[in-house]
Symmetry: C2
Subunit: 318 residues, 2 copies
Amino acid sequence: MTPVEKWAEQVRAGEVRAVSRAITAIENHAPEAEELLRLLFPHTGRAYLTGVTGAPGTGKSTLVDRLAAYHRKQHEQVGVIAVDPTSPYSGGAILGDRIRMQGHAGDAGTFIRSMATRGFLGGLARATAEVALLLDAAGKRHVLIETVGVGQDEIDIVRLADCVLVVMVPGLGDDIQNMKAGLMEIGDIFVLNKADREGADRLEQQLLAMMSLVMPRDGWHPPVLRTVASENKGIPELAETVAKFQKHFAASGERERKHVEHWKKRLIELLESRLLERALGGAGGEKRLAELAAEVAERKKDPFTAVREILTKSGLAN
Amino acid sequence: MTPVEKWAEQVRAGEVRAVSRAITAIENHAPEAEELLRLLFPHTGRAYLTGVTGAPGTGKSTLVDRLAAYHRKQHEQVGVIAVDPTSPYSGGAILGDRIRMQGHAGDAGTFIRSMATRGFLGGLARATAEVALLLDAAGKRHVLIETVGVGQDEIDIVRLADCVLVVMVPGLGDDIQNMKAGLMEIGDIFVLNKADREGADRLEQQLLAMMSLVMPRDGWHPPVLRTVASENKGIPELAETVAKFQKHFAASGERERKHVEHWKKRLIELLESRLLERALGGAGGEKRLAELAAEVAERKKDPFTAVREILTKSGLAN
């Protein structure tokens, strides 16, 4: 058994340190991560991915925390990937393993990992997708992916999920409401959190009014659920609604279609990184790129000619 | 003279319809757009790009409007690219040419174009960069690029600019303040707009406190300027500060370094799209990709093996 084969066995057994080490390898785009994922791949496809998104301040983390606790009480293993919005541009928290949900510390059935929103080689969406595969192989039946609902990157991430929860709270300003418009289209279930706050009724009415304009997909009308996550209110009902959604789409083929779309995109990304490696990976490739970029910046050469030169040099021109 | 050569001449002469048609070609990734940009490229590099970013509701559009009017009074030609946040996911406004700034309607010296945040072939950052080149070739000495300051895409766009203005207003909640943290690092000049509102002094103090933690770049300490754009207050001072910034960095070589970095990234993107075209562009390429994605989704094949097959088939395997 090779070291990577042994590592894969440990991941499949759910050993926390092996899983942690694998995530770090994925984050760093380390060569062994690919071999590991290749070995683990046939053992994936069993986890149900729930994406949780919403503006900052909507209480997503607490909600995810309580959902995780709910599943643990049902003796189901849970993985949590928190795409960390606290450091979006500095990259300081990239490798930090923040144990945020103190209640789960020491519970081997819950694996929690924070990921910063910047600095990943090959993109955060790729890294998140690979970490989700890994947790799937490690036997986590529920993988919860938490992101702040802003920006294309994070929309891409949340689209990985089988079911998307959009979290809203009463009392955020109109500017925030404007940002939410796009979230209407990706939400499978809407969560009205902090529902004990003033304005909850009005927000629910607004949501229902907006949703009446959205076409139901395959007979699913996205419901609005009220929760007070900090007091654990509405959590079982939310988990049951997710289960209902899962059941609804198990028959329709929608989930399969979504997965094929996902893999099309991922195969293209992989192709791109392979081909770029060949075009620029050789000795002097990076240096040649920098020289050409300087010539283009000085308008000595146009970018299309520069790219043709790289392709010719690397034997990839046709 | 070929039709594209004639088109390029018209763009260089600043003919509005030729420029409009070129932007549409860029947005659609039409083959003639590349030929056009290749012809125009030697005539670019003279425009100064100012990025304007900030949360929704900070009054960026009005500010951009007033800056454009200011430059026009100086008899300088202006181009405005507004990356439209109103329809981030539906794609409905993609090709819409929205004349938003009524004051400039009919003024041939100001060219305004809105771009939606989704649905661009090859990415919005690419399209924005190419439209900026086009406006540059069309003789616009000032190109103002307006984006909502959320998400990686838009950060990438604003990074195109030679000078980045970050717009803030008093009275947005703490949640918004949190999102702003990352903007601190990309701002060259901070604009405290709606400065007649309550809380302006407190926000200015917070900004200055935050900025004291950020290292000045090449001797430039990002200043905080107060404006009331809707009443045209503080606009000349802002334009002069941008000019001061431009002068400050003209000597230091920082702008050149930024441009070389930009072109490195753009050359990589171009390479990727060229290579992908070769790997998947042939007859049956798309169909083969869909079949492989389905096999991967069913776990009949791992993604790495699938990609190797595509490369072998297209003669790109090494």
